[in-house]
């Protein structure tokens, strides 16, 4: 059996539990025959992919659910081989160009042209166009985004593009102006409650509302996380009553530990210890921004009121630098040292920074 989150995923626009307005709009767009390029954006776990799949089903019928995975090899200008995984059905194709790293432009250029230059073969297809889904569009390089611009206009007759991103801020304006923006906001508490109740009903058990509240609070608007946690809890204590302890994921507890280290001691040796921990988190594929955010939140919860704003300010400051720069650890460490310095100063009621 799959995990519940995959097992009970809605398949049609009508089955979706929240953002009904959005669902209605998507439905009418799919029916109109004048389907635009689209950009779905919103936090992870809000239901972007689910909505995209539902829309495709609305467009092409159940055929889009017959997926197959393919691996294509592209050659970079320097003759390096780039492997890209492609998920496709008869009617659509889904790529994650960020897999190609710096060479995502090559992938976009070659693959899109190839798709765009051929027409839909299946004469019985409901639509004359094919759909290309581009995942993690916000991590597309600037070059790749530029490569996308013209293609989007030129091959409109054969192809529609659906971009899926967490935020639009890293997309260039010309792309945004060519797409219909679809914001998929995180569900609010009531909506999550409905969904959790629905899952519980499908799985044949009763979900006490207190437990649901607890889970929702922990998940922070991430429905995927909420359902996964629900299943984990159900495994732990089948009746879901009494005081629940929601197990944090491994990386989150690790980040908490780092925060504890920052607050308890402020020495060079401690910074090096923290550096080692950061290296471990980074090498185990936890994104640096997530690390910074989690650690910062944990630190803030442990310090004096006056310091909180300052710490968050510097966290934001170094997050920007982290995105611009290349070696993330440098900025993480700079932030840690900054926080330590601030903490120590407040400990001694002494503000050095104003003397500079």
């Amino acid at each position: 059996m799959s995990l519940w989150v995959d097992q009970y995923r809605p398949r049609a626009l009508d089955d979706l539990h929240y953002h009904q307005g959005l669902s209605a709009r998507l439905k009418s767009l799919a029916a109109s025959g004048d389907f635009p390029h689209m950009l779905f954006y919103g936090p992870s776990g809000a239901g972007k992919k689910t909505r995209i799949t539902c829309t495709l089903r609305q467009l092409f019928g159940p055929g889009v659910e017959k997926l197959k995975i393919d691996q294509r090899v592209f050659l970079s200008p320097s003759k390096r081989k780039i492997e890209v995984n492609i998920v496709q059905s008869n009617f659509h194709i889904e790529i994650t160009p960020s897999e190609a790293g710096n060479y995502d432009r090559v992938v976009i250029q070659e693959l899109l042209k190839e798709i765009a230059q051929t027409q839909q073969v299946d004469l019985n297809a409901k639509q004359r166009f094919k759909v290309v889904i581009i995942n993690e569009a916000d991590s597309l390089s600037r070059d790749a985004q530029a490569a996308l611009r013209r293609t989007m206009e030129k091959y409109m007759s054969n192809m529609r593009i659906i971009l899926c991103a967490n935020s639009t801020s890293r997309l260039i304006a010309p792309i945004k102006s060519r797409c219909l923006l679809m914001r998929v906001a995180a569900p609010n508490e009531d909506e999550m409650q409905t969904v959790l109740a629905h899952v519980a009903k499908r799985a044949y058990f009763d979900l006490p509302p207190e437990a649901a509240q607890e889970i929702i609070k922990d998940s922070g608007g991430n429905l995927r996380k909420a359902i996964l946690v629900l299943e984990a809890l159900k495994m732990q204590s089948p009746d879901l009553t009494g005081p629940l302890s929601i197990a944090k994921p491994d990386w989150e507890t690790y980040c908490q530990k780092v925060a504890g280290l920052i607050v308890t001691e402020q020495t060079p040796a401690r910074v090096m210890e923290i550096r080692a921990k950061f290296y471990e988190l980074l090498s185990h594929c936890i994104p640096p921004t997530v690390i910074l955010k989690t650690v910062a939140e944990a630190v803030v919860s442990q310090v004096d009121e006056t310091l909180k704003a300052e710490i968050m300010h510097w966290a934001a400051f170094y997050e920007v630098r982290m995105r611009i720069g290349s070696k993330k650890i440098y900025h993480l460490e700079a932030w840690v040292v900054k926080v330590m310095s601030l903490y120590k100063q407040s400990f001694y009621q002494f503000d050095i920074s104003e003397f500079e």
Binding site: Y254, P268, Q349
Partner: protein, 936 residues
């Protein structure tokens, strides 16, 4: 605290401190101009440390009630200075010495004090005439406040004005640069540290006892004495040889000269500088923080000590060689004579040589100095006398040892060897010695060097030497094929370590020849430890040549210089020798070049010449890190400019930033020397913060350089941000080899490649799960892996082997393979760290999982493109090939393969397909069978 302000601030106030000594040095010249001005400003000195000398000199009216206040204060906090004392109290005393007060404050206070202290000034002026610093300007404002702050309140008053805090901080922090700072806002206060310095040594001894009691007072004393004023003192213009015959020892840090410079000064005036004080040492020049062992030695030998100024005075006042004692004079005279006779002899020989072979001789003046003045007899060889004699003895004994079959070791134990391996650095006369000894012993040298090909074949055949050095050829020039090897031949294999890849097997062949040679062989190499020379170590007698000391070379060089009518003093020659690391050849070449333009050379010219000819050495990143984070490069007396410091980055610009980031926390910063307790911690964190944010800046610059736009012009900026600036904050002791936090190789490289690897594996997991899961890679890592863990890993930990089928079922659900299972385990951190997890799963369970997984069939979401081209895995089992059978059939196989190709050419593709997956031995067995079939 707006973020935008931040960078500006740091560049504004810090830029000088981070240029270290050089920055302040450059700023310096502006201040002397302002020196005459301070007439208007009375000199007021109420500092607690300084008032001892001042009381001594100044009028008795000095200890006014006002002055007594600070001293009262000085006594008060005594018991309170314990480390747990509140910050307020500690900060407050800092105010006392705030001679870096901003203009406004000074003016106010100065006017307040003017009237009262006027009578003090005249006598003071005499003593510290050029001094214009105002010390402890606002003592009278502070004291009333302080007892309150320290006594009643643990916390300082929040009302404490910001500007005041500001001052405290500057005063306490930038002990290296008060001079430029002061001179900038107020030219009048242009201080002359040189003048301030003079009373320091007197005052210092008296301060000593107080140091133990008052932390802050000690800090202050150090601060007053400490601010080194690099370049503030001019090197006096003494008589050229005024220090001749004197020997010096330098210890501690002088305030205005770095160690190298002061040593140079002593040498320039003819002094001798030795490392350790002994009974023969004439003077010890003492600086701050002198080494305890040296101080002990001074006491023991009762040596005369000088401070910096006395040392400089000595140069000015001492008059040349006139004061030298008889003995030294005689010695010098004798040396001179010896040089002259040697030169005469040389000339004689040259003339004789010209006469002898007048027909084909080369005019000696057209020869290079290195050949012209090459040693002609053993006496003339500089250094390694013992080794050369040994070599000579060996050659002398050669016929006898050959006769005895190399059984008798002889006096030096050398006679059992047929070859000698001379090793040593370049330019110290290895080749020359070998040739000369051979000639003296009546052997004909045949030299093979790196210009000859010396591969195995050539060395083996090559002893019919065609390609020999010309001297042998000319001497015995009748033979057409070069020289024949007689029993009076010595083979000199020069530059053995130069036998490179082109000379494959050369060393081995040479070694074989050595083992049976009937002529002596002398091998010459630079590096004895080289891997290539391993075979030779056992078969040759090792004869290391060491660098001759400057003394050994000196007389020879003086002779040559005399002969060439050059006036080069001995100390200049010494310097040249030293800088070339005793490379006589290089010194001769330098001299002969210099001779073209001038026939005299003084100390400074010599120095520049030596510098120009310095051998360029590449430092390893470890060396550079040591140098940059070490205590000297950024110390106040260091003379390296910013450019010089950046040069270290450019020695290895890809590694240095990484090394710096890895190691900048491992030092004990020198600039924290004067702090204690909480202040030290705060200061340390502040330095760390500055360094870390500079490294962060550096990364942004790096992104611009290596990003799509490739702004390579930003390299110097990157050098400063990533390497020089962090080092400027964190330089100091520590990080030595063997200590707890020794400088280490950057982890970043390893960690980064680990990250790439795991990220790729995670990608594999994600795409396999994609058919079921909509999340992307990071979502898989952050949400799914923790959720899957209880399903596919934990059962194995808790239940064991019986949980395997259940786990496999779950894995199949998400199309996960066994490799993906490994990845999922490997990706865990904290409690789910892979080794922790794997420890809890028994080996039996693991093998069970592998076996069961491999035994059953699994859904496969897709084939990897890379898998398609691969040869499929060979199947386990099947009969083992019968080796005997294969052996018997061996001969027919060869025929068959020929036949096969001819006959069924279109079958080849099929053959390939069949053959490919078979085991190695299998084709052998198979082929004959097929052949049989074909024949039938």
């Amino acid at each position: 605290m707006a973020p935008s302000q931040k960078p500006n601030k740091s560049t504004g106030s810090d830029i000088r401190s981070f240029f270290g000594g050089s920055g302040s040095q450059k700023l310096r010249p502006t201040s002397p101009a302002a020196q005459p001005v301070p007439e208007k400003k009375p000199v007021i000195e109420i500092s607690d440390d300084e008032d001892m000398p001042s009381v001594k000199n100044a009028s008795p009216s000095k200890p006014t009630p006002r002055a007594s206040l600070p001293s009262a204060l000085q006594n008060k906090p005594k018991p309170a200075v314990a480390p747990r004392k509140s910050v307020g109290a500690i900060v407050a005393p800092m105010d006392v010495d705030s001679d870096d007060e901003p203009v406004i404050k000074k003016r106010k206070v100065a006017s307040a004090l003017l009237s009262s202290d006027e009578d003090d000034t005249p006598p003071k002026k005499k003593k510290i005439a050029r001094k214009a610093t105002i010390l402890s300007s606002d003592d009278d404002d502070e004291p009333p406040k302080k007892p309150v702050a320290s006594g009643s309140k643990p916390k300082p008053k929040p009302r404490l004005s910001k500007s005041k805090k500001d001052d405290d901080f500057i005063a306490s922090s930038d002990d290296e640069e008060p001079a430029p700072k002061k001179s900038a806002p107020k030219p009048k206060a242009g201080p002359s540290k040189a003048a301030e310095k003079r009373p320091a040594p007197n005052g210092k001894s008296k301060e000593e006892p107080s140091k133990n009691k008052f932390n802050w007072a000690a800090a202050r004393a150090a601060k007053l004495a400490g601010p080194a004023a690099p370049g503030s003192k001019a090197v006096p213009d003494g008589a050229p040889d005024c220090l001749a015959g004197l020997s010096f020892v330098f210890t501690g840090e002088l305030s205005s000269f770095s160690r190298d410079e002061s040593v140079d000064i002593a040498k320039r005036f003819g002094g001798r500088v030795v490392g350790q004080p002994s009974g023969k040492t004439d003077y010890v020049v003492l600086g701050d923080n002198a080494g305890p062992s040296k101080l002990a030695a001074i006491k023991k030998h009762g040596l005369a000590t000088l401070n910096e100024d006395e040392f400089l005075n000595l140069i000015v006042t001492r008059k040349g060689t006139g004061k030298l004692d008889e003995k030294t004079l005689k010695k010098m005279e004798k040396e001179k004579e010896a040089i002259q006779t040697a030169a005469k002899e040389m000339e004689k020989r040259e003339r004789k040589a010209a006469k002898d072979t007048s027909s084909k001789a080369i005019d000696p003046s057209s020869q290079l100095w290195t050949t012209r003045y090459a040693p002609q007899n053993i006496k003339e060889i500089c250094g390694n006398k013992l080794q050369v004699e040994k070599l000579q003895q060996w050659l002398k004994d050669w016929p006898n040892s050959l006769k005895s079959g190399f059984k008798k070791p002889g006096k030096n134990g050398m006679n059992v060897f047929r070859a000698v391996l001379i090793t040593g650095p370049p330019g110290i006369g290895k080749t020359t010695s070998a040739h000369m000894v051979a000639k003296l012993e009546g052997f004909t040298p045949i030299e093979l060097n790196a210009s000859d090909a010396r591969s195995k074949k050539l060395v083996e055949n090559g002893m019919n030497v065609n390609n020999t050095s010309l001297d042998g050829y000319i001497a015995g020039g009748r033979e057409k094929d070069g020289v024949t090897i007689t029993d009076r031949t010595v083979l000199i294999m020069d530059e053995v370590d130069g036998m490179s890849s082109g000379d494959r097997g050369g060393v081995g062949a040479l070694n074989a020849i050595i083992k049976k040679s009937k002529v002596p062989i002398i091998c010459i190499a630079n590096d004895r430890g080289a891997q290539k020379l391993k075979p030779l170590i056992a078969t040759t007698f090792n004869m290391p040549f060491s660098r001759p000391s400057a003394q050994m070379i000196r007389s020879r060089l003086l002779t040559i210089a005399f002969k060439e009518k050059m006036k080069v003093p001995a100390n200049v020659l010494d310097q040249l020798v030293q800088s070339s690391q005793s490379d006589i050849r290089q010194v001769l070449n330098m001299l002969s070049t210099w001779r073209l333009s001038s026939d005299t050379m003084d100390f400074d010219e010599g120095k520049t010449l030596a510098q120009m000819n310095q051998k360029y050495t590449i430092m390893s990143p470890f060396d550079i890190t040591n140098k940059m984070l070490g205590p000297y490069l950024f110390s106040a007396t260091a003379r390296e400019s910013l450019g010089d410091k950046m040069e270290y980055y450019f020695q290895d610009h890809s590694f240095m930033p990484l090394f710096m980031q890895e190691n900048y926390l491992k030092t004990e910063p020198s600039s924290l020397r004067n702090y204690d307790g909480p202040m030290r911690q705060l200061k340390s964190l502040e330095l760390m913060d500055k360094a870390a944010s500079s490294i962060s800046d550096g990364d942004l610059v790096d992104a611009l350089i290596h990003g799509p736009e490739q702004h390579w012009a930003l390299m110097p900026l990157h050098a400063v941000c990533s390497t020089v600036r962090p080092a400027s904050f964190r330089y100091g002791m520590g990080g030595h080899y063997g200590s707890d936090n020794a400088f280490s190789f950057p982890q970043w490289l390893g960690q980064n490649s680990k990250q790439t690897k795991l990220s790729r594996q995670l990608g594999d997991v994600q795409i396999r799960m994609r058919l079921k899961v909509s999340g992307d890679k990071s979502e898989i890592r952050q949400s799914y892996l923790p959720a899957l863990f209880p399903h596919i890993v934990r059962p194995l930990m808790d239940v064991g082997a019986s949980a395997v089928p259940e786990v496999i079922e779950k894995m199949d659900e998400y199309y996960l393979s066994k490799e993906d299972w490994d990845t999922i385990v490997e990706l865990g951190v904290d409690q789910q760290k892979d080794d922790l997890v794997l420890k809890k799963i028994s080996a039996a369970t693991k093998t069970n999982l592998t076996k069961k997984y491999n035994a059953s069939e699994h859904p496969i979401p897709f084939y990897k493109a890379t898998d398609l081209g691969k040869v499929p895995k060979k199947l386990p089992g099947g009969p083992a090939p019968d080796i005997e059978d294969a052996f018997d059939m061996d001969e027919p196989v060869e025929e068959a393969s020929d036949d096969d190709k001819g006959k069924d050419g279109d079958d080849i593709s099929k053959n390939k397909l069949i053959k490919a997956p078979k085991k190695k031995a299998a084709p052998k067995e198979k082929a004959p069978k097929k052949e049989k079939g074909g024949n039938k």
